[in-house]
């Protein structure tokens, strides 16, 4: 094969490759470039700094890679007299020394500045404590001004525009707390408190995940992050701090009785009732949450009943037994009671 023919083959490959890469990128971007769990759709300061760092590094790296590759191909395929300049001292000094030094001298301070600006705790931040447990998230809002302390689970609600100071730790093994739309990851280590700060810039529903393998159900350990306007957040907070609602109809009262006799209260707290277990998620306002089972199922009476009756089937290895022997009616009453706890 002569040079010309080789060049044509190569040219053909490159063309196909570029087309495929573009198609793949569009496909990925449709799925990955926006959404509730995407680092490519930043909704907070840290996340957008990390996003721009990624864009600059990727685009810059790609351009340099393409430039170097073209020079390489030129060095191989161009006629000797035309490629001679590639071997001169000037090319080596400017292209091989000056260019990398200048580029890296710009990137290094930029990277250090991103590092410095990420993670700075702000004045008047809202403190939230999150404890990773196999395989769910305990979320505590400490007392703040007039607002009293309370616990919830698998859901973090934050006001838009206010700095959030999250302290994380773990009750068992190492987990990692990650809300891609708001910033980087932070490890949750038993016996240690780590901190991460972010500010939600726009209202919306986002999703966080456990980013450190922590056991069987690691992949089903997610949580919802809901960014609300400040007034809506205060209203939510006031509601959450209240004790649980009284059952309004006999069916729900029956559900509460089943909850009591079934021993659910030894693991779960429902504030305002005698259920005060601290082992599992606080269920005082479980009906108000978007999802159950650590971000796994939408929250409605059907999924609640399914969860209670088949816990070990739908999330095997979880620290809650299945209650498969409840009659259909009892299950409906119990799930209805859970759902009524708005």
């Amino acid at each position: 094969m002569n040079l010309e023919a080789r060049w044509h083959t190569l040219h053909g490959w490159l063309g196909t490759f570029a087309k495929r890469a573009a198609a793949l990128f569009c496909m990925l971007s449709l799925i990955g470039c926006s959404g509730v769990q995407s680092a490519l759709d930043p909704a907070g300061g840290d996340a957008s700094r990390i996003y721009w760092l990624t864009v600059i590094m990727t685009v810059g790296g790609t351009l340099i890679f393409l430039g170097v590759t073209s020079l390489l191909l030129y060095a191989i395929f161009a006629p000797p007299e035309r490629r001679a300049w590639l071997g001169t001292r000037g090319t080596i000094v400017y292209g091989g020394l000056a260019f990398p030094i200048v580029t890296l001298s710009a990137l290094l301070p930029y990277g250090l500045i991103v590092m410095r600006d990420t993670d700075v705790p702000q004045e008047g931040a809202l403190p939230i404590e999150v404890i990773g447990e196999q395989y769910w998230w305990r979320v505590r809002y400490p007392a703040d001004g007039r607002q009293t302390e309370f616990s919830t689970a698998n859901e973090i609600v934050v006001p838009v525009g206010r700095s959030i100071a999250v302290s994380v730790t773990s009750a068992d093994v190492i987990h990692s707390f990650w809300i891609p739309n708001f910033g980087g990851k932070i490890d949750m280590i038993p016996g240690r408190i780590n901190r991460i700060n972010f500010t939600a810039e726009r209202p919306g529903v986002y999703r966080g995940v456990c980013a450190e393998f922590c056991g069987d159900q690691h992949a089903r350990m997610a949580f919802d992050v809901i960014a609300l306007e400040p007034e809506a957040f205060e209203a939510w907070r006031t509601e959450q701090a209240k004790p649980a609602r009284e059952p309004e109809i006999p069916l729900l009262a029956r559900g509460r009785e089943l909850f009591r006799v079934g021993g659910c209260g030894s693991c779960h707290a429902v504030r305002g009732t005698e259920a005060s277990g601290q082992f599992g998620p606080d269920l005082t306002h479980v009906g108000s949450r978007r999802t159950i089972g650590a971000g796994q199922f939408p929250n409605n009476i059907g999924t609640l009943a399914g969860w209670i009756a088949n816990t070990q089937h739908i999330k095997p290895g979880v620290r809650m037994p299945s209650y498969g022997s409840l009659s259909g009616e009892d299950l409906r009453a119990l799930a209805g009671y859970m759902e009524s706890l708005k």
Partner: protein, 119 residues
Amino acid sequence: MSGRRTGQVLLMVAGLIAWAVQFTIIYAVTSTLCGRGWADAAFLGFEIVPMTIVSATLVTFSATLLAAVWSFRNHRRKGEQPVSGADSFMNHVATLINGLSLVIILWHGISAFILPACA
């Protein structure tokens, strides 16, 4: 190896040694002080951690600058008296390594001006 060669080799790696010294000082002092919770410890009004980074940088930078100038002059002198191919090559490389070491030592030092002492 003759004494002259040893000197030449030393000069060739002088910048790298200075860089290693800077590295060791910065890491040792920063991790010890930060680990002990002395992030804000100050001496004569200067915070110790950034001051250590800056002075280690200045000292190693100056030493490397000397080495760079020296090797550059050796390299330049080659026109005046006949030198062997090996000498010429070593002088050339020494200039290059010492010059690059200057850059890397500076890169190492700038973090003191951007990042908090113990982050």
